[in-house]
């Protein structure tokens, strides 16, 4: 903050009541092909701190491919994914393997649809949460166990289950444990692939409530892939609709759902069964 220019920019941000320096994630023209077939094509968007972006579309629309490209699990054929590291937009595709691993262990989190993909099933619940903390250098056993207990409590898993393995948990509990394991390091960006898929409706509601609270309290940014329009309406600030690998429409979540412009979005919205 030594030069006047950045101070001015900072105070302008505050005057707008928002104090946001720049996007956390900038996606520029991301394209991924599987041979001649398109996975996702020319996807661009900015995600700002504290914002939740929803991505909807039917199976095969490219939403999961896009999520995997954004989160470093797949390399796109074209385009860039810039992430704010210490105020510098950094191309995550040019990071060294070690740098990328560190990012994925600390500042980023990935919540899989199937908790088995995000948990170590042979390790206790406390171990699952503590392991991610140890990955960031924590070594003090008492403090790691205390942090694990705190997080189990936040995701509503009773303290006396800390030494049980996740295989003894219900699907909803496993999903909450996966969330605790991911968020214990205080990440700034969370990728979620169908986080409520495969859960009972009552368990979904509980998870939605939990996620919304965490997003607000921790100021998290998130990218959520789902096919459930009710989930994005309650969780996402903004929405992208994908079809055949392309983003066909994007905007404010409620605007896209209530006044859809594209033929495919109109079909998607009008196909939802009324409960």
């Amino acid at each position: 903050m030594s030069d006047g220019k950045s101070l001015q920019g900072f105070s302008q941000g505050l005057c707008k009541g928002l104090g946001r320096p720049g996007p956390l994630l900038s996606v520029e023209g991301v394209t991924k092909r599987y041979g001649a077939r398109i996975g996702c094509a020319e996807v661009s968007f900015d995600l700002w701190p504290g914002e939740v972006m929803g991505i909807v579309g039917e199976s095969g629309s490219g939403k999961t491919t896009l999520l995997r490209c954004l989160s470093g699990h797949l390399s796109p054929d074209e385009g860039r994914v810039l992430y704010d590291i210490d105020g510098q937009p950094t191309d995550t595709l040019t990071l060294t393997e070690a740098e990328r691993r560190r990012l994925m262990r600390t500042d980023w989190a990935f919540v899989h649809q199937n908790p088995r993909d995000g948990l170590r099933m042979g390790v206790s619940a406390g171990g699952n949460v503590g392991e991610r903390l140890m990955g960031t250098g924590a070594r003090h056993y008492g403090r790691i166990r205390a942090a694990a207990l705190d997080w189990l409590d936040r995701v509503e898993i009773a303290a006396d289950r800390i030494d049980d393995r996740p295989s003894a948990f219900s699907g909803g509990m496993q999903q909450r444990l996966q969330i605790a394991r991911n968020l214990v390091t205080g990440p700034r960006l969370v990728f979620m692939d169908e986080p409520t898929g495969g859960l009972d409706v009552s368990v979904q509601a509980r998870l939605l409530d939990l996620l919304r609270g965490l997003v607000r309290e921790m100021g998290l940014s998130a990218v959520i892939v789902t096919h459930d329009l009710a989930v994005v309406r309650l969780l996402a600030d903004r929405l992208m609709v994908m079809q055949g690998g392309h983003v066909v429409e994007q905007g404010l979540t409620d605007q896209v759902l209530d006044d859809p412009q594209h033929a495919y979005t109109q079909l998607l919205v009008s196909s939802v069964l009324q409960a």
Binding site: K16, G17, L18, W48, E51, A205, R206, L208, D209, R212, R216, R233, L234, D237, R238, G251, L252, D254, Q255, D258, D259, Q261, H262, A263, Q266, L267, S270
Partner: protein, 229 residues
């Protein structure tokens, strides 16, 4: 300058799955609401009152025109700027309560205050104050409003809409399913908001309520496009 200022506003719906029919629903809409003023939208059912309100909130897209709200042109603004506007300057009491199931009523009402960074205790105190003024039994505050009656849900919606002192407020039938006592509380809340300088745009089928709180009326029927009939 007016807090809400609308000029040349037009709206069509294109129905891609019904032969691509384009239905013009509004053209040349204009109105303004000053600070401390309440303006009622009137017109027959289907004239476009709700459509106009939804456009002001950014929930429907405009085809043409300008929708100035607290200096932001909602017709042109990015989603991020509309989100910021909704968070701190533009409130909306809709007819329907849409909340995450399981969240207690008190939290639902306090949420807009927490979103602008209000201290948690102060936000909850304000929520309690509003819910007790609106005569919602205290036994219900810890429960999710999803199972409440229509009138109870509406009061939760109103409490939530008045929790944060927005400079601009949209009200869609705020007194529709209320008994006389609660109706009076809501009209008093509207008067208090006007007194602190809020600009209010509303739909009120209740003519007496309109006479009590509204400074003037805008007939939305005048903005119905004259197309090949």
């Amino acid at each position: 300058m007016a807090v809400i200022e609308i000029e040349g506003l037009a709206k069509d719906f294109t129905l891609h799955h019904q032969g691509g029919a384009v239905i013009p629903v509004m053209a040349g809409a204009r109105l303004s609401v000053e600070a401390g003023e309440c303006v009622a939208l009137t017109g027959a059912s289907g004239a476009g009152k709700s459509t106009l309100m939804r456009m002001v909130y950014g929930n429907y897209l405009a085809r043409a025109g300008r929708i100035g709200v607290c200096g932001v042109d909602v017709a042109q603004a990015s989603p991020r700027d509309i989100l910021a506007l909704r968070r701190d300057r533009l409130g909306y009491v809709s007819q329907f309560l849409r909340v995450v199931p399981r969240v207690p009523t008190l939290e639902v009402v306090a949420e807009p205050l927490l979103a602008v960074g209000e201290d948690r205790d102060a936000a909850l105190a304000r929520a309690r104050d509003l819910l007790s003024r609106l005569n919602l039994p205290e036994a219900l505050w810890g429960l999710s409003p999803t199972t409440f009656s229509g009138g109870e849900q509406q009061r939760v919606n109103i409490a939530r809409g008045f929790a944060h002192p927005y400079p601009a407020v949209l009200l869609d039938e705020p007194t529709a399913s209320l008994d006389p006592a609660n109706r009076d509380v809501v009209l008093t809340l509207i008067e208090e908001a006007k007194a602190r300088g809020a600009a209010i745009l509303g739909i009120f089928h209740d003519a007496e309520a309109r006479a009590r709180v509204c400074d003037h009326e805008v007939d939305v029927g005048a903005f119905t496009p004259r197309t090949a009939a």
